[in-house]
Each structure stands twice: as structure tokens, then as C-alpha cells.
């Protein structure tokens, strides 16, 4: 998946996640800001990396996550929404998300 435009998904409300994806040069960069970074930072990064792998995003993007205590299912959903929007992709290939 190629990131071609800046895109946002999610909110800054409690239990949610706000994601900003931008095109960039070089390898994929993940910046994580979380209120629960100390306890769950590793888990959030793990879910994010798995989501990048599923969608085939490994370079050419900067992903900034502002986490407000989101559960794993919310993290996956918000990241996927932002990445699909950033790729200009309106159709979801559901097999890749399973």
C-alpha cells in the first residue's frame, strides 16, 4: 500500500485514538504519544506494527498516534481507517484484515 496523501482518523476523546498519517521519504516512522505509554506502550506498538504488516505499509509514511487509552480493537480500526484514507483507497479488502 502506498501512502499518497495526509489523512486523519479517530478523535482525542477518552478511550479513542487519533491517528495522523503523512507521506514521507524513507522507512516507516511511528511516533506514539500515549497517556498509558508506560504500561501499554509496547502493546500499542505491537498492534500498530501488525496493522502495518497486514496492509503492506513498510516505508514512505510517518504515522503519529495520540492514544487516549484505546483498546486493541479501537487501535486497529483507527489505524486502518487512517492508512486506507492516506492511500486514497475507498474499498476495503476484508481478507487482508482478518
Amino acid at each position: 500500500m502506498q501512502i499518497i496523501q495526509e489523512a486523519l482518523a479517530g478523535t482525542l476523546e477518552s478511550s479513542d485514538l487519533f491517528v495522523r498519517v503523512s507521506p514521507s521519504e524513507g522507512p516507516l516512522e511511528l511516533i506514539l504519544n500515549s497517556e498509558v505509554q508506560h504500561q501499554f506502550g509496547d502493546q500499542i506498538r505491537k498492534v500498530a506494527q501488525e496493522t502495518f504488516a497486514k496492509l503492506g505499509v513498510s516505508e514512505g509514511a510517518t504515522v503519529i498516534i495520540e492514544d487516549k487509552g484505546a483498546l486493541d480493537c479501537v487501535i486497529e480500526a483507527r489505524l486502518e481507517a487512517a492508512l486506507l484514507r492516506a492511500a486514497g483507497d475507498k474499498s476495503v479488502e476484508w481478507e487482508t484484515l482478518s
Binding site: T11, L71, D72, E76, S91
Partner: protein, 290 residues
């Protein structure tokens, strides 16, 4: 016997509500991809509902997804997310005819085959929101074996009828027609939401009316209404004592090979036994009315 007293609406785009609503223990949750989600958030809500369905957050609670009508650009994508996610029930809004249900059934079956779900494992429900829908409610209720229930949806209905929500008289015919259609088809019937969330007295008054009419339950928009509703539907201690005596008498008659069930010298027939079992099921789920 599946208890369906409370069906809590949760906007499909609201992460906070999705992450917490299970603690209120409604009988069913309804993740809404239709009216509660703005057009620009449809894609994100669909993904949020899909991943929530795949998680174990709502284990033990029936999970319903309200999709957009199939005639819109969103309906089929919503349906794919819901079926692939493992939704227990698909709620079709604005159902006007039996063909609407049949079209949905065809699409669901196609998706079940595509994603490897057992064919027939996705149930359906139809929301009736117009005069045409009410008039066609018998045909709608019998349109598919997958239908587990039909619901009256008040807001669009009163607009279609050129009236507005009031004391309930504006819904009288729709409630009775939809309820009779459901009972004739042997499926469940759900009443409208009560949107004045701070009016506990008005809510309970409406619950009393719909319970007496025979509705299985009600759509809800606020978790605070769940406990009130469950308590109103809970049987009294007197009801439970009587139901226990009826079931005991039925079991005794069966053990003794008697064709006739008697309690205190009076004959009891099968519908009374079924009704007693429903009372005990409600008591088990929410205790005795306080």
C-alpha cells in the same frame, strides 16, 4: 429462550461507548452504522464495528448491527463488515416490503459463503419506519426464516404519518400491527426508543404499555434505561411462585405419563406452561421485581 428486553443503540463511530457499554449488560447491543454516523465517518465506523465484533468485548451479549439501506452507497459495505465480523443479527432499517428482506437474505448468504461462515448463522431483523412498512408488516415478518424479530422505529414513522411523538396514541396502530405480525410469524417484536432520557416516569409509563401489549422489549439509547426496563419486565415474587408450581405440576404429569396437567384442581394447558417458563427465565435473568 433468548431474552431480548433491551437493545442498546451504540453509535458505530463512538469508541468510548463501544469500549464501555458492555458493562451495563443489555440483552442486545445494536452497533449503528446508519443515522448515528456522519457520511464522512462511515468508513471508520465500519472498521471500528468490524474489529469490535472480532474482539471478545461483547461475549454473552447479542450483537446486532444496523446497516444503511442496501439502496445507499454504504449498505453493502456495512453488511460485509458485519457478516465478516461475526454479527449475530443484521438490522435492516426502513423496511418497506418483503422483497427488502429477501434481498438482504440473498446478500447475507452470499457473504457467508464467501467468508466461510455457516450459512444461516446470521440472523436478520427488520425495522419498520413508514406507513407502507406497517401495512406490509405481515409479509415482512414472514419473508425469511432468518428473521428473529421486527421493530417499530418511531421517528421516521411519525414523520411519514405527518404527526409527531406525543402520548403514544400516534403509534397505537403501528405498534399493534407490527406486534400482531410478529406474533403471527412467531418472531420477536421490539418497541421504539424513548428519547427523553431524564424522564424516568414517562419511560416507565411507556414500558408498562408496551409490556402489556406484548412486546419482547424496547430499543434504548441510554444505558441508564437498561436497569429500569429489566426491572419492569421482571416478574413479581407471586408470579415466580405460581410459575414454579405450574412447571412442577407439568414435570410431575410428564413423569407419571399423564396427558392432563392439573394444579389445585384446575387443568393447565401447554400455553400456560410456556408462559410459566418465560416468567422463570425472566426471573433468572433479572431477579424479582423490586
Amino acid at each position: 429462550m433468548t431474552l431480548r428486553r433491551s437493545m442498546l443503540f451504540i453509535p458505530g463511530s463512538n469508541a468510548a461507548m463501544i469500549s464501555t457499554a458492555f458493562v451495563f449488560k443489555p440483552d442486545s447491543v445494536m452497533f449503528d452504522l446508519e443515522d448515528a454516523v456522519s457520511l464522512r465517518e462511515k468508513d471508520a465506523a465500519r472498521l471500528l464495528v468490524y474489529h469490535t465484533l472480532k474482539s471478545s468485548l461483547y461475549d454473552g451479549i447479542e450483537r446486532v448491527v444496523r446497516i444503511n439501506p442496501l439502496s445507499t452507497p454504504y449498505g453493502k459495505d456495512d453488511l460485509e463488515a458485519a457478516v465478516r465480523g461475526g454479527a449475530d443479527v443484521i438490522r435492516l432499517p426502513k423496511t418497506e416490503t418483503a422483497d427488502d428482506v429477501k434481498e438482504l437474505e440473498t446478500c447475507v448468504e452470499e457473504l457467508e459463503r464467501k467468508c466461510g461462515r455457516e450459512v444461516g448463522s446470521t440472523l436478520l431483523m427488520a425495522a419498520i419506519e413508514s406507513a407502507s412498512g406497517v401495512i406490509n408488516s405481515v409479509a415482512i415478518a414472514t419473508a425469511s426464516k432468518r428473521l428473529m424479530g421486527i421493530a417499530v422505529a418511531g421517528f421516521d414513522y411519525v414523520v411519514d404519518m405527518q404527526t409527531e411523538r406525543g402520548d403514544g396514541s400516534e403509534l397505537f396502530y403501528a405498534r399493534c400491527a407490527v406486534l400482531h405480525a410478529a406474533r403471527a410469524a412467531k418472531i420477536d417484536a421490539f418497541d421504539v426508543v424513548y428519547s427523553d432520557i431524564n424522564n424516568e416516569e414517562g419511560f416507565l409509563k411507556e414500558v408498562d404499555v408496551i409490556k402489556r401489549l406484548g412486546f419482547n422489549g424496547k430499543s434504548l439509547i441510554n444505558p441508564r434505561q437498561i436497569e429500569l426496563l429489566h426491572n419492569a419486565y421482571a416478574p413479581t415474587q407471586e408470579d415466580v411462585d405460581y410459575a414454579n408450581r405450574v412447571v412442577a405440576a407439568a414435570e410431575k404429569a410428564e413423569t407419571e405419563g399423564l396427558g392432563v396437567i392439573a394444579l389445585n384442581g384446575k387443568m393447565i394447558d401447554a400455553p400456560i406452561v410456556d408462559s410459566a417458563k418465560r416468567v422463570l427465565s425472566r426471573a433468572q435473568a433479572s431477579g424479582v421485581r423490586r
